[in-house]
Amino acid sequence: MLILECPYCGVKAEETELSPGYEAHLKRFGPGSTDEEFESYMFARKNPKGVHFERWRHVYGCGKWFLAARCTATLEVFGTYPAQTSEPPADLVAKIKAKRPDWKGYK
């Protein structure tokens, strides 16, 4: 059972205090977007074996959504960070690259 540290309140919350929100950094496409764009937003989900970025909500705590980078195979957690960003922080990306030289980046 996972433990993720909430970047807002600092609680090392166990999975039962969190609720999952699936893939992070999706770009919303609304009216005016092409079918392909809307499909990418609504349906096309990554499912990597390895580094993955996810949304989690500290639902039984401060109630805030945050983002987490973890390895789906080993469950190693590289870091968590606030949700108010459209891409992972550079220092976290560098940390993951150092640990996983083969990783191709978050995009």
């Binding site: 609504m42 190693e76 957690v77 108010q84």
Partner: protein, 1006 residues
């Protein structure tokens, strides 16, 4: 026969005798006994029957690995099946009965399976019961079900209580043997937070039984000193009777504490399930001795060698006067020596190895014990009990050289480290050729959240097979774990254990190695599930190469002991049959729990009244006293109806509808979701959330709104009120408040985080009462305090004020089509206000009504209900709600989704009303059939019922539903498929306007 010795017994208190019963027989044991020890002391070797052949089964082991000796324990509310006698502590008044036999343990009809055993090989069920197909369901399965299973399921409600608790530590040590204690000492002295778990009531593991000497003193002294030191450390918790059940991700461990198994009824919880979060986990879980595969190795009286030692040393119980020891290693000689030293006879030690040289054999020889080197057991003699063994050359095929009379056989095939906890979360194993066992591969441990090792195996569990090696290994493992935790260990010396030099063991998987098929068909691997060497070999011949498939085909290791004794032997046989190396074949997957955890412990406190949280409105108690029949709405309980004496629920519901339509109904609407949305960007935000426009809503007014998900499907609805320039109050469905609040926060936090909007879920701050019916205004006027006239408070407006002295907010909204006010009061005044309404309303015919009357009245008015008319595939346009969708807005959640061609298609099923031609109630969910059949030969369909009721107002059945091109087909007669009591039929109905009652809104707009 097995009996109690006159002297000795480390764990028993001869001054405290305890009476217990087995199959109704009253027997005596001592305090400190396990049930197994007490049974053996009373010569009760036969304790059960095997699963398939119903063969007589005796006690084999002395610990949790016991496959045979399962009994029913207790009775009534304390009845528990499948309890292992080897792990059950004796207590005064214990009642046990044997299981899986009929009519009695001594004479069991099912044993007939034994005589037809050659017709019941591996995979028998799969092969035999396939044809003819219908026979499976009606003949074979019922018979198999009848004869399957071990203990009976308890019938009574569990009289005990259970609980769970959370614990946290830096290092969790599983196992209270000398290795575990040494590791705990190292970690405790370093100041780490340590928890030590020991599954039994005693500490010290094998070392104390085997008389090991540590730092020149008996191991018992080391254990006592270690426990005393650990007990004095505030950073260390030591728990006996607590089994480490499973290791999970990120250092999460479940442990089952048997708090009151041995003191039933003393008021304490029976078990406590610990949910431990550990920085690192150290498994000092020891090893389990393996049986040897020789013919008749399942007869009562054949036991594991070290277990025999346990009974003699710990409990002063002799398994028999004459015990033959069969082995492939030096360790079993300890058993022969212990028996001899207890004054018992050991007619022979049969050692499969040709070269027997170690210190222990020398000591045995010195004690005058006959050693038969290079020999094996050809066959165990006897029926319900061992009477002797015939011996043969291990290298041969089983020709009998000699027969030795005995009444017990102590066997040892070597030791397998307990690697379960290491393996639960992915730790890998390595094959150790010297000791012929799998042990943890330190280079491939299970990983933690930081990518480092999560589990450290230590001592015998890590393959360090002597006490000296185990202590050193545990010391090093603890230091490695502490270093990884960033905790500095103190320098210290590893306690030194006196070492007995042992000669290497020799792997023996079949005895004798060239045994004939007849012998192999009597060599048991899995005692509980009756899997023999011949079964595994058959599986291999039939093409089962994967150990996982072989396990399922033969059922090897699938019994309640999960193959603790049989797995390694079984896969060695499979490897032999496949001509492969054991590591190539590999093991099956180790899954938690290590030994069964009772469901009560897993449920913990969640039973009875607190099985799940029930949400109660402030008026809940009133409803219960009024005799309301409650229904679940999410976790809420809401009155479905308030039946009066002699009324059916249906009659009560109809009364409530009629009364509300003609006089006055009162509804507890407190469960309605209420969310405040406030801020400079709140209007803009709500315009994105709702399909309609909320920013233009004037202060003081209400507007009905729809919310869709991004796919465009309708997700919730409700009335929005504009409170002030910056503040809106959004009502949601009863089940939807938390979900919609979370949905709002998601968008505000993750997409539009620069918008200035705050939300607050104030659902529970207010009790809400719907005052509904022609007399509604009269009641409010009688309560008095504010102007509720048509002019002052028209339809779809709200006002703050007081009524009967209560501070209220009154919404003039209607979900019934009647004159209706929804009145919010602070929850702490909710009950008082509800009672005041009833008191004042009595003269106007006030009655409470429940959710079913509410549903009927809204259906009569053609109002949709989220969850009835919607199911996650319905868009507002399907429900003719285009009027609530803004055409002007560039964007709202769901707009792009609704533009997809399938959702924009003119051929979608749309909302209409239906009336059966015969006036009956159309079955819920019924489909409107269409011409032709689909690929599966089923009738094509063109619509379905979403809500259907008998309308007491209109005295006929009414229904709402979705129909292809529905609104264009008014007046058309369509056909529904029905299915009642197994009979297919049809029902004709006319397509009508879904608003059945008061279409012009005359009643609500007064």
């Amino acid at each position: 026969m097995s009996t109690r010795l006159a002297k000795g017994g480390r764990l028993i208190d001869r001054a405290a005798s305890q009476e217990f019963s087995f199959n109704g027989k009253r027997l005596k044991g001592y305090k400190g006994d396990t049930l197994a020890a007490a049974l053996l002391a009373n010569d009760q070797m036969l304790v059960g029957r095997s699963f398939k052949y119903h063969r007589p089964r005796g006690i084999v082991a002395a610990g949790p690995e016991e496959p045979n000796a399962l009994v029913n324990l207790g009775k009534g509310g304390r009845f528990e099946p499948n309890q292992r006698v080897t792990t059950t502590e004796l207590f005064e008044g214990l009642e046990a009965t044997s299981q899986n036999h009929w009519p009695s343990l001594e004479f069991d009809v099912g044993v007939v399976n034994n005589y037809v055993a050659r017709f019941l090989p591996a995979g028998f069920y799969y092969k035999t019961f396939i044809h003819p197909r219908p026979f499976w369901k009606h003949v074979f399965e019922p018979i198999i079900r009848q004869s399957a299973g071990l203990g009976a399921a308890p019938k009574d409600r569990d009289a005990d209580r259970y609980e769970q608790a959370y614990a946290f530590c830096d290092l969790l040590v599983v196992g209270g043997g000398v290795a575990g204690l040494q590791a705990a000492l190292v970690a405790g002295r370093a100041g780490a937070r340590v928890i030590v778990l020991e599954q039994t009531a005693q500490f010290g593991g094998r070392a104390v039984v085997d008389g090991e000497v540590i730092d020149g003193k008996p191991a018992d002294d080391f254990v006592a000193a270690a426990l005393a030191e650990l007990g004095s450390m505030s950073n260390v918790t030591v728990k006996a009777r607590t089994m480490g059940a499973g290791v999970y991700d990120h250092g999460y461990v479940l442990a089952d504490e048997k708090v009151a198994d041995h003191t039933p009824g003393d008021g304490r919880p029976k078990h406590r399930l610990w949910r431990i979060r550990a920085g690192k986990i150290l498994t000092a879980t020891g090893a389990i001795e393996r049986p040897l595969s020789f013919a008749g190795n399942d007869l009562p009286g054949v036991m594991l060698a070290a277990s025999v030692r346990d009974y003699v040393v710990n409990f002063a119980v002799s398994p028999g006067d004459r015990t033959v020891v069969v082995t492939n290693n030096d360790d079993a000689y300890r058993t022969a020596i212990a028996l001899k030293e207890a004054g018992l006879s050991v007619p022979a030690i049969i050692d499969a190895r040709t070269n027997v040289t170690g210190e222990l054999p020398a000591k045995a020889r010195a004690l005058g014990i006959r050693i038969e080197a290079g020999r094996g057991v050809a066959k165990v003699l006897g029926g319900k009990r061992v009477t002797g063994v015939s011996i043969c050359l291990q290298a041969g095929e089983g020709a009998v050289i000699d027969e030795i009379a005995c009444d017990a056989v102590a066997m040892s095939g070597g030791w397998s480290p307990v690697v379960h906890l290491w393996s639960h979360c992915g730790g890998k194993l390595t094959w150790d050729t010297t000791n012929a066992h799998f042990r943890p591969d330190a280079a491939r441990p299970p990983l933690n959240h930081d990518g480092g090792a999560m589990v450290y195996a230590a001592g015998i569990a890590n393959g360090a097979m002597t006490t000296a090696a185990a202590l050193a290994d545990a010391d090093a493992a603890a230091r490695a774990a502490l270093e990884a935790l960033g905790i500095k260990a103190k320098a210290g010396k590893v306690p030194e254990a006196a070492t007995v030099v042992e000669a290497p063991m020799e792997a023996v998987w079949i005895m004798p190695q060239g045994a004939t098929p007849a012998l192999k068909a009597k060599m048991w691997l899995d005692y509980q599930n009756d899997v023999k060497v011949s079964d595994v070999q058959l599986a291999a011949r039939e093409g089962y190469e994967s150990v996982e498939h072989t396990k399922r085909y033969t059922t090897l290791g699938m019994a309640t002991d999960q193959g603790k004794l049989s797995n390694i032997n079984g896969l060695a046989i499979l490897a032999g049959a496949l001509n492969e190396d054991i590591p190539q074949v590999g093991t099956t997957t180790f899954r938690p729990p290590y030994t069964p955890v009772t469901l009560g412990a897993l449920a913990g406190e969640a039973r009875g009244e607190i099985f799940q949280p029930l949400r109660r409105t402030p008026m809940h108690g009133w409803h219960e006293k009024a005799g309301a029949y409650m229904e679940p709405v999410g976790l809420w309980r809401r009155p479905y109806t308030f039946p009066r004496t002699g009324e059916t629920h249906e009659q009560a519901v109809h009364r409530e509808v009629i009364n509300t339509r003609e006089k006055l109904g009162l509804l507890d609407a407190s469960t309605l979701g209420k969310i405040i949305v406030k801020g400079p960007d709140a209007g803009r935000f709500l315009d994105m959330l709702y399909t309609g426009v909320m920013s233009s809503l004037p202060v003081g007014k209400c507007r009905y709104g729809l919310m869709c998900n991004e796919q465009g499907f309708l997700s919730d609805d409700g009335v929005v009120a504009r409170i002030d320039e910056e503040t809106w109050l959004c009502h949601t469905t009863s089940g939807g408040a938390d979900r919609i609040h979370a949905w709002m926060e998601d968008w505000l936090q993750c997409e539009w985080w620069d918008w200035k909007v705050y939300t607050a879920n104030v659902t529970e701050q207010y009790a809400q009462v719907a005052v509904v019916g022609p007399n509604a205004r009269k009641l409010l006027e009688k309560l008095g305090g504010m102007d509720v006239s048509k002019e002052a408070l028209p339809f779809m407006q709200w006002a703050d004020g007081t009524l009967g002295g209560f501070p209220v907010r009154v919404y003039r909204i209607s979900f019934s089509g009647e004159l209706s006010y929804e009145i919010a009061v602070p929850a702490s005044l909710g009950l008082a206000f509800w009672e005041a309404c009833h008191k004042a309303g009595a003269e106007f015919g006030a009655m409470p009504y429940g959710t079913e009357a509410l549903h009927i009245m809204r259906a009569e008015k053609g109002f949709i209900m989220i969850g009835d008319e919607t199911d996650g595939t319905v868009i507002p346009q399907d429900l003719n709600l285009d009027w609530a969708i803004s055409k002007k807005k560039e964007d709202f959640l769901g707009k792009r989704g609704q533009m997809r061609n399938h959702l924009a298609s003119p051929d979608r099923w749309k909302l209409v009303g239906f009336e059966a031609l015969d006036g009956s109630v159309i079955p819920d969910g019924a489909y409107v059939v269409d011409a032709g059949v689909n690929a599966n030969g089923q009738r094509n369909v063109q619509g379905r019922i979403t809500s259907t009721y008998f309308s007491p107002t209109l005295k006929k059945g009414i229904a709402m539903g979705l129909l292809k091109h529905g609104p264009k087909r008014m007046g058309e007669v369509v056909e529904f498929g029905t299915f009642k009591n197994g009979v297919k039929g049809t029902l004709k109905a006319r397509v009508v306007d879904p608003v059945f009652f008061d279409k012009d809104g005359v009643k609500q707009n007064v």
